[in-house]
Amino acid sequence: MLQHRLIQISGIVLSVVYSALIVWLYWTEPRTFREVATGAQVAAGTYQVDGEKFAAGLSLFRREQFRAARDEWQRADPAQNDALTQFYIAYSFYREGWGRVYNDDELFRQGLERVNRTIAISGQPFSLSSNEDSDLQIRTAAELKAELEQGTERSLEDANPLKLMRKRK
Protein backbone atom coordinates (compact mmCIF):
# COMPACT_ATOMS: atom_id res chain seq x y z
CA MET A 1 0.00 0.00 0.00
CA LEU A 2 2.86 2.34 0.92
CA GLN A 3 4.65 1.44 -2.30
CA HIS A 4 1.45 2.16 -4.22
CA ARG A 5 1.15 5.59 -2.59
CA LEU A 6 4.82 6.31 -3.33
CA ILE A 7 4.30 5.49 -7.01
CA GLN A 8 1.28 7.78 -7.14
CA ILE A 9 3.08 10.69 -5.51
CA SER A 10 6.18 10.31 -7.69
CA GLY A 11 3.91 10.17 -10.74
CA ILE A 12 2.24 13.43 -9.70
CA VAL A 13 5.55 15.16 -8.99
CA LEU A 14 7.05 13.98 -12.32
CA SER A 15 3.94 15.10 -14.22
CA VAL A 16 3.95 18.57 -12.64
CA VAL A 17 7.68 19.08 -13.28
CA TYR A 18 7.39 17.81 -16.85
CA SER A 19 4.34 20.03 -17.50
CA ALA A 20 6.25 23.05 -16.21
CA LEU A 21 9.14 22.19 -18.54
CA ILE A 22 6.78 21.95 -21.53
CA VAL A 23 5.12 25.28 -20.71
CA TRP A 24 8.56 26.86 -20.30
CA LEU A 25 9.72 25.49 -23.67
CA TYR A 26 6.64 26.80 -25.47
CA TRP A 27 6.94 30.12 -23.63
CA THR A 28 10.63 30.77 -24.36
CA GLU A 29 10.66 29.07 -27.80
CA PRO A 30 14.34 28.10 -27.90
CA ARG A 31 15.59 27.68 -31.47
CA THR A 32 18.39 25.18 -30.87
CA PHE A 33 19.52 22.67 -28.23
CA ARG A 34 22.19 25.20 -27.19
CA GLU A 35 19.47 27.76 -26.47
CA VAL A 36 17.56 25.16 -24.48
CA ALA A 37 20.67 24.56 -22.35
CA THR A 38 21.31 28.30 -21.89
CA GLY A 39 17.66 28.92 -21.02
CA ALA A 40 17.78 26.11 -18.47
CA GLN A 41 20.87 27.68 -16.88
CA VAL A 42 19.08 31.04 -16.66
CA ALA A 43 16.02 29.41 -15.12
CA ALA A 44 18.18 27.51 -12.62
CA GLY A 45 20.13 30.66 -11.74
CA THR A 46 23.48 29.14 -12.75
CA TYR A 47 23.91 31.21 -15.91
CA GLN A 48 27.24 33.01 -16.24
CA VAL A 49 28.69 35.21 -18.92
CA ASP A 50 31.79 33.90 -20.70
CA GLY A 51 34.41 36.18 -19.15
CA GLU A 52 37.04 35.55 -21.84
CA LYS A 53 34.72 36.51 -24.67
CA PHE A 54 33.50 39.52 -22.72
CA ALA A 55 37.06 40.76 -22.27
CA ALA A 56 37.80 40.18 -25.98
CA GLY A 57 34.71 42.25 -26.82
CA LEU A 58 35.84 45.01 -24.48
CA SER A 59 39.25 45.16 -26.11
CA LEU A 60 37.64 45.44 -29.57
CA PHE A 61 35.27 48.12 -28.24
CA ARG A 62 38.20 50.21 -27.02
CA ARG A 63 39.78 49.90 -30.48
CA GLU A 64 36.49 51.23 -31.92
CA GLN A 65 35.71 47.95 -33.68
CA PHE A 66 32.12 48.04 -32.57
CA ARG A 67 30.58 45.34 -34.76
CA ALA A 68 33.29 42.82 -33.87
CA ALA A 69 32.88 43.78 -30.21
CA ARG A 70 29.14 43.16 -30.39
CA ASP A 71 29.74 39.75 -31.98
CA GLU A 72 32.00 38.77 -29.09
CA TRP A 73 29.51 40.02 -26.52
CA GLN A 74 26.66 38.17 -28.22
CA ARG A 75 28.68 34.99 -27.83
CA ALA A 76 29.61 35.87 -24.26
CA ASP A 77 25.97 36.43 -23.29
CA PRO A 78 23.85 34.24 -25.61
CA ALA A 79 20.81 34.46 -23.33
CA GLN A 80 21.04 38.29 -23.32
CA ASN A 81 20.62 38.13 -19.60
CA ASP A 82 23.62 40.03 -18.26
CA ALA A 83 22.98 43.72 -17.61
CA LEU A 84 26.62 44.78 -17.94
CA THR A 85 27.10 43.06 -21.32
CA GLN A 86 23.81 44.45 -22.61
CA PHE A 87 24.84 47.93 -21.43
CA TYR A 88 28.11 47.68 -23.35
CA ILE A 89 26.30 46.45 -26.47
CA ALA A 90 23.94 49.43 -26.22
CA TYR A 91 26.96 51.72 -25.73
CA SER A 92 28.63 50.26 -28.84
CA PHE A 93 25.49 51.04 -30.86
CA TYR A 94 25.60 54.59 -29.52
CA ARG A 95 29.25 55.10 -30.37
CA GLU A 96 28.98 53.56 -33.81
CA GLY A 97 25.79 55.44 -34.64
CA TRP A 98 26.92 58.80 -33.31
CA GLY A 99 27.75 61.44 -35.93
CA ARG A 100 28.78 65.06 -35.66
CA VAL A 101 26.26 66.08 -38.35
CA TYR A 102 23.64 63.36 -37.97
CA ASN A 103 23.19 60.09 -36.08
CA ASP A 104 22.40 56.69 -37.58
CA ASP A 105 18.79 56.21 -36.50
CA GLU A 106 18.80 52.46 -37.07
CA LEU A 107 21.83 51.89 -34.83
CA PHE A 108 20.39 54.20 -32.18
CA ARG A 109 17.11 52.30 -32.30
CA GLN A 110 18.95 48.99 -31.73
CA GLY A 111 20.91 50.64 -28.94
CA LEU A 112 17.66 51.75 -27.35
CA GLU A 113 16.36 48.17 -27.44
CA ARG A 114 19.50 46.95 -25.67
CA VAL A 115 19.48 49.67 -23.04
CA ASN A 116 15.83 48.92 -22.32
CA ARG A 117 16.82 45.28 -21.92
CA THR A 118 19.60 46.33 -19.52
CA ILE A 119 17.07 48.20 -17.39
CA ALA A 120 14.65 45.27 -17.47
CA ILE A 121 17.33 42.74 -16.47
CA SER A 122 18.92 44.78 -13.70
CA GLY A 123 15.56 45.52 -12.11
CA GLN A 124 17.04 48.58 -10.42
CA PRO A 125 18.77 51.69 -11.86
CA PHE A 126 21.84 50.28 -13.60
CA SER A 127 25.16 52.08 -13.33
CA LEU A 128 28.79 51.19 -13.91
CA SER A 129 30.83 51.00 -10.74
CA SER A 130 33.57 53.63 -10.32
CA ASN A 131 36.40 51.18 -11.13
CA GLU A 132 34.74 50.02 -14.37
CA ASP A 133 35.89 51.65 -17.59
CA SER A 134 36.59 55.23 -16.51
CA ASP A 135 36.83 56.25 -20.22
CA LEU A 136 33.09 55.97 -20.60
CA GLN A 137 31.34 59.27 -19.91
CA ILE A 138 27.88 57.79 -19.76
CA ARG A 139 27.80 55.81 -16.54
CA THR A 140 24.16 54.81 -16.15
CA ALA A 141 21.56 53.04 -18.29
CA ALA A 142 19.15 55.94 -17.77
CA GLU A 143 21.69 58.45 -19.16
CA LEU A 144 22.44 56.22 -22.14
CA LYS A 145 18.72 55.79 -22.80
CA ALA A 146 18.18 59.56 -22.73
CA GLU A 147 21.13 60.08 -25.07
CA LEU A 148 19.85 57.48 -27.53
CA GLU A 149 16.30 58.85 -27.40
CA GLN A 150 17.51 62.40 -28.02
CA GLY A 151 19.56 61.12 -30.92
CA THR A 152 16.52 59.71 -32.69
CA GLU A 153 14.21 62.69 -32.06
CA ARG A 154 13.77 65.46 -34.63
CA SER A 155 13.79 69.05 -33.32
CA LEU A 156 14.84 72.60 -34.24
CA GLU A 157 17.99 71.98 -32.22
CA ASP A 158 19.15 69.74 -35.12
CA ALA A 159 19.63 72.89 -37.25
CA ASN A 160 21.84 74.59 -34.64
CA PRO A 161 25.37 74.95 -36.16
CA LEU A 162 26.87 74.75 -32.69
CA LYS A 163 25.85 71.10 -32.77
CA LEU A 164 28.96 70.44 -34.84
CA MET A 165 31.05 71.30 -31.79
CA ARG A 166 29.56 68.62 -29.55
CA LYS A 167 31.60 65.61 -28.54
CA ARG A 168 30.87 61.94 -28.47
CA LYS A 169 30.54 60.57 -24.97
Binding site: Q3, H4, R5, I7, Q8, I9, S10, G11, I12, L14, S15, V16, Y18, S19, L21, I22, L25, Y26, E29, P30, R31, T32
Partner: protein, 237 residues
Protein backbone atom coordinates in the same frame (compact mmCIF):
# COMPACT_ATOMS: atom_id res chain seq x y z
CA UNK B 1 6.38 -17.97 -7.07
CA UNK B 2 3.34 -17.63 -4.83
CA UNK B 3 0.08 -16.24 -6.12
CA UNK B 4 0.21 -13.38 -3.62
CA UNK B 5 3.62 -12.35 -4.90
CA UNK B 6 2.43 -12.42 -8.51
CA UNK B 7 -0.58 -10.32 -7.53
CA UNK B 8 1.65 -7.81 -5.74
CA UNK B 9 3.88 -7.52 -8.81
CA UNK B 10 0.90 -7.09 -11.07
CA UNK B 11 -0.57 -4.44 -8.81
CA UNK B 12 2.75 -2.54 -8.67
CA UNK B 13 3.22 -2.70 -12.44
CA UNK B 14 -0.31 -1.54 -13.04
CA UNK B 15 0.21 1.37 -10.64
CA UNK B 16 3.45 2.32 -12.41
CA UNK B 17 1.67 2.24 -15.75
CA UNK B 18 -1.35 4.23 -14.56
CA UNK B 19 0.32 6.84 -12.42
CA UNK B 20 3.77 7.31 -13.98
CA UNK B 21 4.07 5.94 -17.51
CA UNK B 22 0.73 7.10 -18.93
CA UNK B 23 0.97 10.77 -17.85
CA UNK B 24 4.58 10.92 -19.06
CA UNK B 25 3.66 9.45 -22.45
CA UNK B 26 0.82 11.92 -22.94
CA UNK B 27 2.95 14.85 -21.80
CA UNK B 28 5.67 13.82 -24.27
CA UNK B 29 3.04 13.84 -27.01
CA UNK B 30 1.96 17.31 -25.81
CA UNK B 31 5.58 18.44 -26.07
CA UNK B 32 6.41 16.97 -29.47
CA UNK B 33 3.07 17.59 -31.19
CA UNK B 34 3.85 21.28 -31.73
CA UNK B 35 7.53 20.87 -32.56
CA UNK B 36 8.65 21.63 -36.11
CA UNK B 37 12.15 21.85 -37.53
CA UNK B 38 12.61 24.56 -40.14
CA UNK B 39 14.14 23.57 -43.45
CA UNK B 40 16.69 26.41 -43.40
CA UNK B 41 19.18 26.00 -40.58
CA UNK B 42 17.33 23.27 -38.68
CA UNK B 43 15.92 25.76 -36.21
CA UNK B 44 13.19 24.57 -33.79
CA UNK B 45 9.72 26.05 -33.88
CA UNK B 46 7.24 25.43 -31.08
CA UNK B 47 3.68 25.84 -32.33
CA UNK B 48 1.14 25.98 -29.50
CA UNK B 49 -2.14 24.17 -30.16
CA UNK B 50 -4.51 26.31 -32.28
CA UNK B 51 -8.00 26.89 -30.89
CA UNK B 52 -9.57 24.43 -33.32
CA UNK B 53 -7.37 21.58 -31.98
CA UNK B 54 -8.66 22.26 -28.46
CA UNK B 55 -12.22 21.86 -29.73
CA UNK B 56 -11.21 18.67 -31.55
CA UNK B 57 -9.59 17.41 -28.33
CA UNK B 58 -12.81 18.05 -26.38
CA UNK B 59 -14.79 16.06 -28.95
CA UNK B 60 -12.22 13.28 -28.83
CA UNK B 61 -12.34 13.17 -25.03
CA UNK B 62 -16.13 12.87 -25.22
CA UNK B 63 -15.62 9.95 -27.61
CA UNK B 64 -13.20 8.34 -25.17
CA UNK B 65 -15.87 8.55 -22.48
CA UNK B 66 -18.57 7.24 -24.82
CA UNK B 67 -16.31 4.42 -26.02
CA UNK B 68 -15.48 3.57 -22.38
CA UNK B 69 -11.75 4.08 -22.95
CA UNK B 70 -11.81 6.36 -19.97
CA UNK B 71 -14.36 6.16 -17.20
CA UNK B 72 -14.31 9.46 -15.32
CA UNK B 73 -16.71 8.21 -12.63
CA UNK B 74 -14.36 5.36 -11.74
CA UNK B 75 -11.19 7.40 -12.19
CA UNK B 76 -12.38 10.31 -10.05
CA UNK B 77 -14.59 9.19 -7.22
CA UNK B 78 -15.40 9.89 -3.56
CA UNK B 79 -14.25 6.33 -2.82
CA UNK B 80 -10.74 7.03 -4.12
CA UNK B 81 -7.99 8.64 -2.11
CA UNK B 82 -7.07 12.27 -2.77
CA UNK B 83 -3.79 11.25 -4.41
CA UNK B 84 -5.54 8.78 -6.72
CA UNK B 85 -8.08 11.41 -7.76
CA UNK B 86 -5.36 14.01 -8.29
CA UNK B 87 -3.36 11.59 -10.38
CA UNK B 88 -6.44 10.77 -12.48
CA UNK B 89 -7.16 14.46 -13.05
CA UNK B 90 -3.55 15.03 -14.19
CA UNK B 91 -3.75 12.05 -16.55
CA UNK B 92 -6.99 13.35 -18.09
CA UNK B 93 -5.49 16.84 -18.50
CA UNK B 94 -2.37 15.30 -20.09
CA UNK B 95 -4.59 13.20 -22.38
CA UNK B 96 -6.52 16.33 -23.38
CA UNK B 97 -3.37 18.27 -24.34
CA UNK B 98 -1.85 15.20 -25.99
CA UNK B 99 -4.98 14.87 -28.13
CA UNK B 100 -4.85 18.57 -29.05
CA UNK B 101 -1.17 18.31 -29.95
CA UNK B 102 -1.67 15.07 -31.90
CA UNK B 103 -4.13 17.01 -34.08
CA UNK B 104 -1.71 19.95 -34.19
CA UNK B 105 0.99 17.59 -35.42
CA UNK B 106 -0.99 16.50 -38.51
CA UNK B 107 -2.79 19.79 -39.18
CA UNK B 108 -1.24 22.03 -41.85
CA UNK B 109 -0.05 25.23 -40.20
CA UNK B 110 -1.93 27.76 -42.32
CA UNK B 111 -3.94 28.41 -45.45
CA UNK B 112 -6.91 26.61 -46.92
CA UNK B 113 -5.44 23.19 -46.10
CA UNK B 114 -5.51 24.03 -42.39
CA UNK B 115 -9.23 24.74 -42.55
CA UNK B 116 -9.97 21.79 -44.84
CA UNK B 117 -8.23 19.37 -42.47
CA UNK B 118 -9.92 20.97 -39.45
CA UNK B 119 -13.29 20.65 -41.12
CA UNK B 120 -12.78 16.97 -41.93
CA UNK B 121 -11.59 16.23 -38.40
CA UNK B 122 -14.60 18.06 -36.95
CA UNK B 123 -16.95 16.28 -39.32
CA UNK B 124 -15.53 12.84 -38.48
CA UNK B 125 -15.52 13.37 -34.71
CA UNK B 126 -18.99 14.90 -34.73
CA UNK B 127 -20.36 11.94 -36.72
CA UNK B 128 -18.65 9.50 -34.38
CA UNK B 129 -20.43 11.06 -31.41
CA UNK B 130 -23.62 9.38 -32.64
CA UNK B 131 -22.17 5.95 -33.50
CA UNK B 132 -21.85 3.02 -31.13
CA UNK B 133 -18.25 2.50 -30.11
CA UNK B 134 -16.14 0.40 -27.87
CA UNK B 135 -12.58 1.27 -26.92
CA UNK B 136 -10.92 -1.07 -29.41
CA UNK B 137 -12.95 0.16 -32.36
CA UNK B 138 -12.34 3.73 -31.29
CA UNK B 139 -8.56 3.29 -31.18
CA UNK B 140 -8.62 1.52 -34.56
CA UNK B 141 -10.65 4.35 -36.04
CA UNK B 142 -8.20 6.90 -34.60
CA UNK B 143 -5.23 5.05 -36.12
CA UNK B 144 -6.89 5.37 -39.53
CA UNK B 145 -7.82 9.03 -38.95
CA UNK B 146 -4.37 10.13 -37.81
CA UNK B 147 -2.62 7.87 -40.32
CA UNK B 148 -4.50 9.39 -43.24
CA UNK B 149 -3.85 12.94 -42.06
CA UNK B 150 -0.16 12.11 -41.50
CA UNK B 151 0.26 10.70 -45.02
CA UNK B 152 -1.53 13.70 -46.56
CA UNK B 153 0.41 16.33 -44.64
CA UNK B 154 3.89 14.90 -44.20
CA UNK B 155 4.20 12.77 -47.33
CA UNK B 156 2.03 14.26 -50.06
CA UNK B 157 1.81 17.98 -49.32
CA UNK B 158 5.30 18.21 -47.81
CA UNK B 159 6.69 16.79 -51.06
CA UNK B 160 4.72 19.22 -53.20
CA UNK B 161 6.06 22.25 -51.36
CA UNK B 162 9.44 20.99 -50.12
CA UNK B 163 12.48 23.04 -51.20
CA UNK B 164 14.42 19.92 -52.22
CA UNK B 165 11.60 18.28 -54.18
CA UNK B 166 12.09 17.37 -57.85
CA UNK B 167 11.02 19.52 -60.78
CA UNK B 168 7.91 17.41 -61.42
CA UNK B 169 6.80 17.79 -57.81
CA UNK B 170 7.51 21.52 -57.87
CA UNK B 171 5.54 21.81 -61.09
CA UNK B 172 2.61 19.94 -59.51
CA UNK B 173 2.90 22.20 -56.45
CA UNK B 174 2.85 25.31 -58.62
CA UNK B 175 -0.17 23.99 -60.52
CA UNK B 176 -2.05 23.28 -57.30
CA UNK B 177 -1.07 26.75 -56.04
CA UNK B 178 -2.26 28.36 -59.27
CA UNK B 179 -5.58 26.51 -59.34
CA UNK B 180 -6.26 27.34 -55.67
CA UNK B 181 -5.18 31.00 -56.18
CA UNK B 182 -2.41 30.58 -53.62
CA UNK B 183 -4.69 29.53 -50.78
CA UNK B 184 -3.02 26.11 -50.47
CA UNK B 185 0.27 27.66 -49.43
CA UNK B 186 2.08 25.61 -46.76
CA UNK B 187 5.33 26.33 -44.90
CA UNK B 188 8.29 24.12 -45.80
CA UNK B 189 9.79 22.15 -42.91
CA UNK B 190 12.78 19.87 -42.67
CA UNK B 191 12.14 16.09 -43.11
CA UNK B 192 12.88 15.74 -39.37
CA UNK B 193 9.45 17.27 -38.73
CA UNK B 194 7.80 14.27 -40.39
CA UNK B 195 9.80 11.85 -38.25
CA UNK B 196 8.92 13.76 -35.08
CA UNK B 197 5.26 13.73 -36.06
CA UNK B 198 5.36 9.98 -36.77
CA UNK B 199 6.98 9.29 -33.40
CA UNK B 200 4.45 11.56 -31.67
CA UNK B 201 1.47 9.80 -33.24
CA UNK B 202 2.93 6.37 -32.52
CA UNK B 203 3.45 7.40 -28.90
CA UNK B 204 -0.09 8.77 -28.68
CA UNK B 205 -1.65 5.58 -30.04
CA UNK B 206 0.58 3.48 -27.75
CA UNK B 207 -0.62 5.62 -24.85
CA UNK B 208 -4.24 4.92 -25.76
CA UNK B 209 -3.55 1.19 -26.03
CA UNK B 210 -1.85 1.31 -22.64
CA UNK B 211 -4.92 3.02 -21.17
CA UNK B 212 -6.84 -0.09 -22.22
CA UNK B 213 -4.21 -2.24 -20.50
CA UNK B 214 -4.09 -0.14 -17.35
CA UNK B 215 -7.87 -0.05 -17.00
CA UNK B 216 -8.93 -3.42 -18.42
CA UNK B 217 -12.46 -3.20 -17.08
CA UNK B 218 -13.13 -0.14 -19.19
CA UNK B 219 -12.38 -1.85 -22.44
CA UNK B 220 -14.72 -4.80 -22.25
CA UNK B 221 -17.84 -4.00 -24.29
CA UNK B 222 -21.10 -3.62 -22.38
CA UNK B 223 -22.70 -6.97 -21.59
CA UNK B 224 -25.79 -6.12 -23.65
CA UNK B 225 -23.59 -5.82 -26.76
CA UNK B 226 -21.81 -9.16 -26.31
CA UNK B 227 -24.91 -11.33 -25.82
CA UNK B 228 -26.97 -12.56 -28.70
CA UNK B 229 -30.76 -12.41 -28.72
CA UNK B 230 -31.24 -15.97 -27.36
CA UNK B 231 -28.85 -15.33 -24.44
CA UNK B 232 -30.55 -12.05 -23.65
CA UNK B 233 -33.94 -13.78 -23.58
CA UNK B 234 -32.58 -16.52 -21.32
CA UNK B 235 -31.14 -13.91 -18.98
CA UNK B 236 -34.43 -12.05 -18.84
CA UNK B 237 -36.30 -15.29 -18.06
Amino acid sequence: MSKALINADRSRNQALLRFVVLPLIFLTVALLGGLRVQSDGGVFMFIPPPLVTLILAVLLLLLFVRGALIDPRAWISFNNSLVTNLSAVLTIIALFFASAQAFNSVLPERGLLHWLFSFFFLWTLWNNQFSSFDARRLVRSLIVLFGTAFVLKHMIFANLYGPDSGWLQRLAGSLVQGISLGTLDAPAFSPATGYISFFTLALYISGLLLVMLAHPTNTSPPLALTLNEVEKRELRD
